[in-house]
């Protein structure tokens, strides 16, 4: 018989073998195909349930000892003596996880609509590249004068309001930051990060970088393509490149500033929120709402001071100054706008860092 009563008496706890030797335990499990066991369904069921009726005394059942076919093993915790990979390698793993998720499965799932929107924005951002190529191909100088690389067009590629900073870049930032930190808080996956040798700074830094790099892939790559399309189609020489490279560089800097600002505001919102949608809508309403309010005030009262509250307008003002286009804000110096951008980033990063450092590693 192989019912629980007949299992061989167990060895005392202190004489048990070390945890690594698991063989005795395997034998201790009653084998229902044992030779000595004329096992029937009835006996098997009753052996396991230990009951014959459905309504025996419940309190007794609850305190009944567990089935006696188990053993208790000593746990010995050994320190792990391996070599930890360098910090950059661990961080690279996080970054890679987020970046590759845009392109293929098996990494962070960004959601099909978001990836679709990224693709649409990328293609739409290439409009000036396409027009430059077209003007080079058909040799239309009129078309080229509208679309070719010049100061205003470089500014417009990154900082133009309609459609780029109304429909493209803030929406992309909003969609990206939506769940980046808040989803970790919501699903409790932050515990997966913090149970590994990752500091919180690394965690949030890589989140930041991954969101920024994805935006950079759209804004900076299309900008570079635009510049190279001009060189390729118009056969520009070194003289032209040396001439225009400083303003190209200035455009890159203002694009970096734009990406950094949108990302830090968005991530700060993502860290204060639990939901997925709130950070996205909030980022959009900050960018577009302050713009509309400042537009009302400057149009009505001829006062541009509210533009200092609008992230987009501050970035545009700074961009105009460093790229060197005609400024459209003329009531104050661009350094005020720069100061405002710095202040916005400082506040956002402060919120982000305090929220992440005080983040509880539980599912909320």
């Amino acid at each position: 018989m192989n019912s629980p009563e007949d299992t061989p008496p167990q060895a005392p706890l202190d004489t048990l073998p070390a945890a690594s030797q698991r063989a005795p335990e395997m034998e201790a499990i009653p084998n229902e195909y044992d030779s000595a066991a004329p096992v029937t369904g009835k006996i098997r069921l009753e052996a396991a349930w230990g009951s014959t009726e459905g309504d025996e005394d419940l309190s007794a059942a609850n305190v009944a000892p567990p089935k006696s076919d188990g053993q208790i093993f000593k746990h010995q915790y050994k320190q792990w003596n391996g070599v930890l990979n360098p910090r950059w390698m661990r961080n690279w793993a996080i970054l890679r996880h987020h970046l590759l998720g845009v392109f293929k499965k098996g990494h962070r799932p960004w959601g099909m609509p978001i990836r679709l929107y990224l693709l649409v924005v990328f293609i739409a951002s290439l409009s000036d590249v396409g027009m430059t190529l077209l003007s080079g191909l058909i040799g239309d100088s009129g078309l080229h004068s509208i679309w070719g690389v010049n100061r205003d067009n470089l500014y417009g590629h990154v900082l133009g309001f309609f459609p780029r900073n109304m429909l493209y870049y803030p929406v992309v930032a909003a969609l990206l930051v939506g769940g980046v930190i808040s989803e970790d808080r919501q699903h409790g996956t932050s515990a997966l990060y913090f149970s590994r040798p990752i500091t919180r700074f690394d965690y949030v830094g890589m989140k930041f970088l991954s969101v920024a790099v994805i935006q950079g892939l759209i804004i900076l790559v299309t900008l570079a393509l635009y510049y190279f399309a001009e060189i390729a189609t118009m056969g520009r020489g070194w003289a032209w490149i040396i001439d225009t490279f400083p303003m190209f560089l200035a455009t890159v800097i203002s694009a970096l500033l734009l990406i950094f600002t949108y990302t830090s505001i968005g991530l700060a919102l993502s860290s204060v929120s639990k939901g997925k949608f709130f950070p996205g809508i909030a980022l959009l309403s900050i960018v577009l709402g302050t713009k509309v309010l400042a537009f009302i005030v400057s149009n009505l009262f001829d006062r541009e001071i509210l533009y200092l509250l609008s992230p987009y307008d501050c970035l545009a003002h700074v961009g105009q100054a460093i790229i060197g286009t005609q400024p459209t804000y003329d009531q104050y110096s661009w350094t005020w706008s720069l100061a405002s951008v710095v202040a916005m980033n400082a506040i956002a990063l402060y919120v982000l860092s305090t929220r992440v450092s005080s983040m509880e590693v539980t599912r909320e």
Partner: protein, 443 residues
């Protein structure tokens, strides 16, 4: 279960009020509700502060016709010399050399001395209007041809002509006799124009556009979707209540917090602009009609967008991604309606109809707003030889922010039709949302 007799209120206090009350209490526990409402309040308050600041400061008075200047340095302003017939360019010719010498008048008498006196209506055809207040046109020294520089046979008047051009639009032509209404009061005009433009802009962009889109975006998208995601929807759907009813009552609960908020903000706006605004009256009662329309239009917008975004949330887990491009489209439509209120595209938007209500009310309450803009654009000297822009401050923004209700309807009819269309849209989105929800499999 035995039902005891109820009062009428208690009798109706069943399903609908349970879900509405539940939704309101749920909003109350969410931090994001208070953040959104608070930020909306602060943003509008900021604009109102700037408005109060502008209204409490003086608009600079400009001497549009230059007759306060003493060109020949004889101590007499040009206007006085012209009136009395001496040569304003000759320091040896001035009223002080008269037999009975006349004392020089202060230059301020010749600033803003000839304000608008227009008394016409904006209908097709030619009308004449205008009074020469300061007498520099009716001056007896002038010949009759000098008094009638616009050649219509009437001395010292202004011709205002409304005509329809071949493209179907109505244009205006203003031609004044020299010296009529040529030096208007900038402070009075600009104060009034900026006040009107402020009410229209804050109403259309601040209330109907920003509050109308962002409140539903924040608060209505998750009404059903959040419950479905968290699994708490099961409690509600296990009860004998149709899903489209749940959809409707949840939306009503959302309106229960959004509508009072809009009404309170609107009343605050009406009070501030009524007390601070231009004019001699203690309170601008007439503006209340426009504010009423602004509040009403915002309520309709939040209703329609609420139903729509709620339906988008039911439709798809990523409903917000559908809602964001739609919100951007509506922003574009709002700007389009400022420039081209008759644009065909506006009929496919929500905001176009909502803004039509505000435009209609503005037409009803301020029937002469077109004429007022025309006066400001003319600005006292738009005729003939003046090459610079003589329009007064405030007329351009007022021109931008005000527009005629579309479809060529009378204001009253326009408001009613716009309201009906918005109601139809709300019911349509409710039906769509309810049908989507009804056919939705919920795990």
């Amino acid at each position: 279960m035995a039902r005891k007799p109820d009062s009428i209120y208690r009798a109706f206090d069943r399903k609908a009020s349970a879900i509405v009350e539940f939704t309101l209490r749920q909003y109350r526990t969410k931090k994001s509700t208070w953040v959104v409402l608070g930020v909306g309040f602060i943003a509008l308050a900021l604009i109102f502060l700037i408005y109060i600041d502008v209204m409490s400061s003086e608009f600079e008075s400009i001497d549009n016709d230059g007759d306060s200047t003493d060109y020949d340095n004889d101590g007499y302003p040009r206007g006085q010399e012209i009136r009395l017939g001496t040569d304003p360019w000759d320091s040896e010719s001035h009223p002080g050399l008269f037999d009975t010498p006349i004392e020089p008048e202060p230059a301020s008498m010749y600033i803003n001395e000839d304000d608008f006196d227009w008394d016409i209506t904006s209908k097709l055809g030619t009308q004449t209007t205008g009074i020469d207040d300061d007498g520099d046109c009716l001056n007896s020294n002038k010949t009759s041809s000098q008094k009638d520089t616009n050649n219509n046979g009437i001395p010292c008047d202004i011709i205002v002509e409304y005509f329809k051009s071949s493209d179907g639009n109505v244009y205006t032509f203003v031609s004044a006799d020299s010296g009529v209404d040529e030096d208007p009061d900038e402070d009075a005009y600009s104060r009034e124009a900026i006040h009107l433009a402020f009410v229209l802009s804050i109403g259309k962009l601040g209330f109907v556009l920003l509050l109308g889109i962002f409140l539903p975006l924040f608060m209505a998208t998750g009404l059903i979707r959040d419950e479905m995601t968290s699994g708490t929807m099961h409690f509600m759907l296990a009860k004998p209540i149709a899903r489209s009813e749940v959809f409707l009552y949840r939306t009503l609960g959302y309106l229960g917090i959004v509508w009072p908020y809009v009404i309170v903000l609107g009343i605050l706006g009406a009070l501030i602009s009524g007390f601070v605004g231009s004019g001699d009256a203690f309170f601008r009662f007439a503006d209340l009609g426009v504010w009423l329309a602004i509040i009403f239009a915002t309520m309709m917008a939040t209703l329609v967008y609420g139903m729509l975004f709620n339906a988008l949330g039911v439709l798809w887990k990523y409903g917000i991604i559908l809602a964001i491009p739609f919100a951007a489209w509506e922003l574009g439509m709002a700007l389009l309606s400022m420039g081209a209120p008759d644009a065909f595209l506006l009929r496919f938007s929500v905001i176009g109809w909502a803004l039509m209500i505000v435009d209609s009310a503005a037409m009803l309450v301020w029937p002469n707003i077109d004429l007022f803009i025309l006066m400001g654009n003319w600005g006292g000297g738009g005729d003939g030889g003046w090459s610079f822009d003589s329009s007064l401050e405030g007329s351009a923004p007022l021109d931008f922010f005000s527009s005629k209700p579309g479809l060529g309807l009378s204001p009253f009819l326009g408001a009613i039709i716009a309201t009906l269309v918005l109601m139809f849209q709300a019911v349509l989105f409710w039906f769509i949302g309810g049908a989507l929800f009804k056919g939705k499999e919920i795990q």
